[in-house]
Amino acid sequence: MTALEPALPVRRRRRVRYGVIALALYVLLFLGFIAAPIVSVVAVSFSTASFIAFPIPGFTLRWYWRIVEYKPFVDALIVSGEVAVLSTMFGTLLGVPAALALARSRRTAAAIVSNFLLAPVTVPAIVLGLALLYFLSSLSLGISFTALLIAHTVAGIPYIVRTVLSVYRAIPPDLEEAAAILGASRWQTLIHTTLPLVRSGVFAGGLFAILTSLDNLPLSFFFGSANTNTLPVVMLSYMENQFDPSIAAISTVQMLIAIVVLLIADRVYGIEKLTS
């Protein structure tokens, strides 16, 4: 469990190597633990048995057909997609200008406002959902698509603000200064200089916001009705009544969507940067 020095005696180095091998095996085991439930869901989604049993008796695609046939799944998938994309769009429109204004300010007020904009993520979604439902009901917006959209926008803003703040802080003001000196208006500077510079931050934050929104069951279930149910809400209620592999199939589809989004993100931005 420790670092090696080429200068160390051979005997000791070998003993340490065993430690590293043991550690590597442990990490492999851990990654197996992380993958196990996901892999088994994918396996079950192809099972011919209508209950959960191992070994899987045979392969079939019928559970994937069931998704297409079962209208609530399809409807909910569409609602989920719409909410995720629209709430992220609104979150970007609200969050990016604020982050640009706050990043370079050294005032205490700016620090307080920045922390405030990050606050929604620290409030448990179930608390935020409950509070928003009753507040929006009093505005007669209770259970509606608009309410769902508002809730997801509130939850998405912190992700966008956070990444844009950190990206914009790392960029020296020289480039924008140069644009201004060369006669660009504020608007031109924003469009041609600033936004291209912070694009990666907007992109990463938006990605986080979309992916969080897609799976934000604790927030969504408060606003659930036949035409505002998101996918996780429908999956939960389906699971409470039945326990068949179609849940596995729809989960697999949802995961594939996320993987595609992530691969695109990797091509454009690089995954390792997303975690920093």
């Binding site: 420790t2 670092a3 020095e5 590293v20 590597a24 442990y26 990490v27 851990f30 990654l31 992380i34 439930p37 996901i38 892999v39 088994s40 079950v44 200008p97 604020a98 640009l100 204004a101 370079r104 300010s105 050294r106 990050l118 993520v121 620290t122 409030v123 448990p124 179930i126 608390v127 935020l128 409950l130 509070a131 928003l132 509130v154 803003i157 992700y159 603000v161 956070r162 950190s166 003001p173 924008e176 200064e177 201004a180 500077t189 924003l190 969080t212 934000n216 604790p218 408060f222 996780p232 939960l236 596995a248 949802q254 995961m255 996320a258 989004v261 992530l262 390792e272 997303l274 975690t275």
Partner: protein, 295 residues
Amino acid sequence: MTAGIPLANPDAKARRSRPYRLAGPSWVIPVLLFLGFFFVIPLGANILRSLQAGQTATNGPLFYYIKLLTDAYYGGVILETLKVAAISTVLCLIVGYPVAYFMVRFAGRWNAIIVFLLIAPLLTSIIMRTFGWRVLLARRGLLTTLLADWGVIPRPINLADEPFAVYLGLVHVLAPFMILSITAVLQKVDVRLEESARVLGASALGTFFRITLPLSLDGIATGCILVFVVTCGSFLTMLLLGGGKVTTLSLLIYQQFNVTQDVGFAAAMGNMLLFIGLICLTLQARFLRRSGGKS
């Protein structure tokens, strides 16, 4: 899923006298109005509601809160919430630290792949992951079938619907958060410090406990508070894997909302949950300030 955000401090570095500012303070107004209206007011109204609904001819406004703290059942639920959060935090730390250490010190080019494998599950739905554990742990599940075949257990039993399954599910979801919090700090620990300790005669374990571990405390604190807060706020794992044997505050809110519709009481429980989270975040801010760390 609520991904925690270590709050970043504004760049305190002194710059030139007056750097170019593209955006003025007015650019902040729309988002402040939006969050003021749809975040601050609803949470404020929630507090009022919990006080008003509790207040009757015989009860004071704090009725629900007193009930939460003094009633044996609800007090037990709060303790259970803290217990589950504490145990899963410790489990995540123990399980995750070696992985974080390996990633920083030995993984090299494999690091990117490990990071990918760690965050990929965060992108699958929480339903998929809990469903997966049910698939593995149910009476005829993969794990139970295998264990029975190998003779570890006499016959397949249902391991889902047990507190064990809840902890398994929680560690599975949250260990990656812990690991990424620790690697972020561990990366900055100079490997030469460890090497010096070894050269000066410290044992491998001694080096770890006296050099590496203390230097990574910031990451551990960030990760622990993150896991603790997220566990307090999550209810799906308890709902789907606990079989009714693990009742925490957030699960109770879900049930109150779905079954009894006692809004005032649910609001009070939500505020209690919020209060626990606030305490944790204050602790974190204090800890990070004291150690001079910046995450």
